[in-house]
Point group: D2
């Protein structure tokens, strides 16, 4: 039985990892850490897990933690993994990091939007963990930079179409909407119930750090510098993320051509579901508590305007579910093991 | 005291009219009709109004209704006003119609998206009731076609910029999000609590009937045929609508230029609030239960991409509040009378 | 592999059964019926199940249905099972009925609150399916009347205390609060999003049909006629039910005595979780999407007043989860199989 | 024009006061204070008020504040008013305090549940501001201790029945449910959107500080020591509070007798609405954003059990609306002035 540990188990992504891994048939969750709740049984922090796990939160100690684990998920605020992940790699662990610290190929971009990168040597080993796209590279890696939630909704529908030259990459707009759990469990006025409930707003217009993450991947895929207009919004719900993408068709491809392209690409990828009927487009309700990404597409033949809608659960496919999917791939399990 | 009547008082827009008009200082609500609830006190249908109005719902009878009213709001499903409004006009009433029946200048467009128009002769008299834009024409009219909720969020920010040549009208995308009350009070699976709560989805992608309404007005303002890409979405909240608009700047106008343009245009229009700080963009919470339209704007200097966000309460500025604002204008009152 | 069928698969309880049974390791879901959606793939009715089941809804036909199934869940409005269940029993099927039709021992009470009972001969065979309480009888039965959701929250905490003589059965009040899914999927003004959202109300005060169901069981357990004051309320959320019970302690039992009684009773019943800390009482969030019933208890020593709070997911432990738990018991599986 | 000030204007109750008083026809809001937001325009803290008030938050300074105000609302956490209110009274201001500091007659009880009372000399002058009950005393007072939100829902229905000897005061249970705004605007994990949304729980079972407040008033009214069993719960909504009361009828009074008693008592009190139909009991939706308290009542003739349901908006009738109502009474205005 593979032994798995989680560093940072009491944020929302960490807790989702505990939930998923507690019932994963091929691994054993052996150690979870939390500075804030060290010494407290996990089920007291997340009472839904009472009777489902007896694990107690620990302080992170590299030696004792390493002794107990083969595979490690780091679910920490960015910057912290820069000092922890190198040590885990050195100890021979396979690591899936959920922060932004190991997602970028270009250090300069990372440093523009975050802070100095102090683990450049292992950054090179890292693979961007968009499971369906970089499956083979993930399978062979020891370090995965798990994608951001917004990038997952944007990249899964776009990359196959870009690779097949079907859309105009000079025209890309992503209007995204996220549930509140995406903002994390830290207390702040912006996530106070009364400041969110019955509300809806855009935030960080043109300034969200997931934009450079997406632009780096898109540029690589397109073979040229891509600009993405990206506006995230906050939905008054707990879990779920939906992105409405606007682009232009290239040439005279039809709507069916584009759907066919996606179907071919995702034929053996069970977590991407393509919705054939434009009148039943994705709804975050249909992916909640699952690892699915639902995608629908519409082409206006007259104008060439393409509208693509994609939906995920931001804590599952947008974070912990995809992280476990990546673990499955790294360990040679079926990618769906332990996941819905 | 001006006597006011409402035909169709027990839908959500009708009920909002009752609420607003019941405490309007210069008019007296004298008659309300409802097929479904004829004979029932209004406060039994909407218990929040208990103690605030004693009006009893009546069946609509043109003669008795006309005897009791000087100004009439028709808040009915489209098609019904086609037979009722002409009679009211003939009786010399001033009419504000909240359906789509008197919004279009071009009968053919109306008939493409709705049904045959059987009151063309009075359609010509009708003024599109976007209060801040067509103020003077509304003041002189006896029939107002009150705008749709989505069009209000799209047209208020765009028209001043179009008139001043600041944006590229060949590139217009409106990603709109509406609360559930916009779908009306009729029962349907799509508005069942459990089918909406914790959900979010697009609907009628490229197929919503507010698109031709907006395109007609935009084309008139721009002096050429305008295509609008329009995707409405359903928010899991009761009241509120937010539209994120994507367009391109023309020439080398700055963000300040555009804000200045809007400020000049709306200087004496108290219900349009321009938000100077891109970090505090509009939120539907801030306009709920008010007649305000909040607008924020962002320009990406590098790409020329413009993002505009506008927010209203779909039942107030998006329907009944704007209708009362139009009545105020038609009757020579201050446009804010009886409104917040 | 045991073959399982569901009659009435497209209500909320039926759909929850499909979800649970689709991933149950020891049974195979072979047939689902729905009058309204006959011929439609289940995943088109409930798109969350796309890729998880290929079953198509069928019209119910006793012969073909019986050929394909060994165990049957009937998830229909009451009255319909009266004609269907006898035929299934006759064909030798094990049946779990989720309606009220086979819950009552006393036909007269049933007929007072529902309608004439036309299957009295098999009613006698039926066992009340409160899994933890009537485990042995369920194990030996071929027909289970699955409990109502409210009764599950009321009876699980009370029965052990009644059997041990710890509370005053002449003083029993249940103030219950249910999520909207408890009202079913039929469309009605009362479940329109805008009529429920941001709202909270009592309904059917002293008149809900779950009261006689509870009183019958409580009376049997107490050995005398019990009156229960029962007031249900509607919560503005999709799933979850919480009951606050008020009673009086008998004798000088302490709070610890009562908790000890419950702990002993539920020692080997994993789905009942007793919360030791009165400051962390049950929350419906902690039981959502699980089959748990969480119970907390407080005694005011001065007044002898006892407050008990219990919480379940109304669609899982309050309906389909408990139904599958009963199936597990009837088939000799571990009661937790396929359930969380 | 009476000049009004608010000390503590940026909590939820303070902000509601700003909203109400900004459009009150007979007073002028001249000064608002906030430690946290001193120097910031109020509309930047609560953007819904943009264009509706230009007031800037100030630091509290007794002299400059007193120069600008005749009537003062203190909307501060308890304890702070103990030092501020005496100074305001000394300066001859009329004061309405929204904290618990001036609600209790019995200092010892206050000190048991809060802290040492350091302004006992003016406590004696204070009147408990339950508007409909203590109208005359409020009219003649210079200091009002504005009631808690829960006590308002419990006392308004009970006091008339107690005064008329219609209910058994030895049997009183209040099962209360409050919206999240009742917890205030301070950030805390317990009010994080994701910890409340789709959730429901009891809290402070038998330990909430509104219990002694209610017991003091009830005991005074009943002429003997009253124990109240009080369990508050947290509703996943922003505004609204509903209490379900359980008591026993005395003698052979009928349901009609009790309703008649309430109707007589509240005949000229427009903010208490009695709902005659047990099938349309109070709903928090019907009182939101109003100063109404809706009350419904049911008697089980067989058992003598009485169920009373009352509903208010916790920020309006439960706090700021009632405070303004009290101001109206103190200043000799119609009690409904400026309120809905």
């Amino acid at each position: 039985m593979i032994r798995v540990g989680i560093v940072g188990a009491t944020g929302y992504a960490g807790a989702e990892l505990v939930k998923i891994l507690s019932s994963h048939p091929h691994v054993c969750l052996t150690s979870i850490t939390s500075r804030q709740y060290a010494g407290t049984p996990f089920y007291e922090v997340f009472p839904t897990m009472r009777g489902r796990t007896d694990l107690v939160c620990e302080n992170f100690d590299i030696d004792s933690f390493s002794d107990k684990t083969d595979v490690v998920f780091t679910a920490l605020p960015h910057k912290l993994p820069l000092s922890i992940v190198p040590k885990l790699i050195e100890k021979g662990k396979k690591v899936i990091d959920l922060s932004a610290d190991f997602r970028f190929s270009d250090v300069a971009t990372y440093e523009d939007y975050y802070q100095p990168h102090t683990a450049k040597e292992i950054l090179e080993k890292s693979v961007y963990g968009l499971s369906e796209i970089y499956y083979e590279r993930i399978a062979n890696s020891c370090l995965v930079g798990n994608p951001g939630c917004y990038p997952t909704t944007v990249l899964l529908p776009l990359i196959p179409l870009i690779r097949n030259g079907m859309i105009d990459c000079d025209f890309l707009i992503a209007d995204s909407k996220s549930g509140v759990s995406g903002a994390g469990r830290s207390v702040a006025l912006g996530t106070h119930f009364c400041e969110v409930n019955e509300g809806f707003r855009a935030y960080k217009i043109d300034g969200h750090r997931h934009r450079p993450e997406m632009e780096e991947v898109l540029s690589k895929e397109a073979g040229k510098k891509i600009n993405l207009t990206f506006v995230p919004h906050l939905l008054p719900l707990t879990r779920g993320m939906l992105t409405t993408l606007y682009t232009k068709v290239r040439g005279n491809h039809s709507s069916d051509d584009m759907m066919q392209c996606l179907e071919t690409f995702y034929k053996n990828r069970p977590f991407v579901r393509l919705l054939p009927d434009v009148n039943q487009p994705p709804d975050v309700r249909h992916v909640q508590n699952t690892n699915f990404c639902d995608i629908g597409l519409h082409l206006n033949k007259e104008t060439g305007q393409v509208v693509i809608v994609s939906a995920i659960d931001n804590l599952v496919k947008g974070a912990s579910g995809q992280a476990v999917q990546n673990m499955n791939i790294m360990l040679g399990f079926d990618e769906t093991t332990g996941l819905i």
